[in-house]
Symmetry: C2
Subunit: 242 residues, 2 copies
């Protein structure tokens, strides 16, 4: 009897791993999140029970009840799949669920998924690293463990790409703090909504524009020279090299 | 006629995406890298030609010839798969190949793979983000575009996890610079060699020990509180909360 914490990937069903698809087919019960794309559910064993514990934005109090549910199911079923959008261990709180299962003596394992932090930008033709433009990438969530806004002043670094998850409603504060931290107001910015779905939409501009972008979650924000690239369609645009 | 830049994922074959597995089965020709796990090649169409352009460490001059090869193949075959270990767009230079193909008028598309930067640590039970321990993660390569060592002093940030790729031979310099930048010498460190393969090996310690770790590439280095976690086997160890 094992609980598998499985990443569903960023969207379209076939961006799931082969291992995840096999586990969904073998599952007795699947506990799914809101951010799991509907298409992924086509891999689920038709005899499996599916439980939706999707949290709406702003609701974060039920992690304890999800942990309790997984422990209870892990004691009753042979194969339990806990399915989370993207990667369960990149701001997915998969670690907290694993700790709870370990503490309860329930066998568990992990199957990573494509994180929207890396695959989301690529959907819009943006590589998070690119020689001569970015030395690396920092991935953060706009809010910390206690709901406080992350301090973006300390994350202003013109040599690193910055990928921000769950930042749409705070985009004005984020842009202001990054400028206060030293990023130029002309730094390229892109917002990719619903990456790797047929609802995908990309908005591009510069840091000074970000507050006025007409965008809605779920979306990732990319800040830095790479945000001006669109390698899926037209190659490198005019960006400054570091 | 299309060239697909496809991520092979970090190791074991079934950590490839379903889309990548399908494309390998449809391929007329596969151009593979050194870091692609042998097991992944089991998905390749048995009638496909396989070309190994794997570069050994230190050899980096042949990117132009790889670009030229992909352009030539893209003009002759219906389905060309350029298969790279991990994710082609996280220090994989996939962007450079896409630009060359775009410039030559060859149709191309991308299929992201699990990056060893995120999946590698998880193989050892290390989530790159964990509530109360890490606010986010920075991913860098130890060397920059012109082969120069990355300046790690500016990357010392006790609130972010730091994942370093291709850093094994520079681990002494990396540790020294991170301490000079302000990281405590007792900051947890882990090195995961050959993640998600049957050769996987994890070495743990603190920043002051890193120079003396007995480790070999390919491996990822993780620096920060999360490096003390082992969620796949024993839950949270004793780490300080931020």
């Amino acid at each position: 009897m094992t609980v598998y914490l499985v990443g569903a990937g960023p969207g379209e069903a076939d961006l799931l791993t082969v291992r995840a698809a096999r586990l969904l087919g073998d599952a007795d019960v699947v506990v799914r999140d809101r951010l799991v794309d509907e298409s992924v559910m086509g891999y689920v064993n038709p005899h499996a029970e599916v439980i939706d514990v999707g949290k709406r934005p702003g609701e974060s109090s039920s992690q304890a009840s999800i942990n309790a549910l997984l422990i209870e199911l892990g004691g009753r079923f042979e194969t339990v799949v806990r399915l989370k959008g993207g990667d369960p261990f990149v701001f997915g709180r998969g670690g907290e669920e694993l700790v709870a299962l370990n503490d309860a003596g329930i066998a568990c394992d992990v199957v990573p998924g494509l994180s929207s932090a890396l695959a989301g930008p690529l959907a819009a033709g943006i590589p998070v690293t690119h020689r001569g433009i970015s030395r690396g990438v920092t991935i953060v969530s706009a809010r910390g463990a206690r709901g406080e806004l992350t301090d973006f002043r300390g994350l202003a670094n013109s040599e690193l790409s910055l990928v921000i998850l769950m930042g749409i409603e705070h985009r004005g504060d984020i842009a202001r703090q990054l400028e206060e931290g030293g990023l130029d107001s002309t730094t390229p910015v892109a917002v990719i909504e619903q990456a790797w779905t047929n609802q995908q939409r990309t908005t591009r501009g510069v840091l000074a524009d970000l507050a006025r972008f007409d965008v809605r979650p779920p979306a990732v924000i990319v800040v830095g020279g790479v945000a001006a690239l669109d390698l899926r369609s037209m190659g490198i645009l005019d960006v400054a090299l570091i």
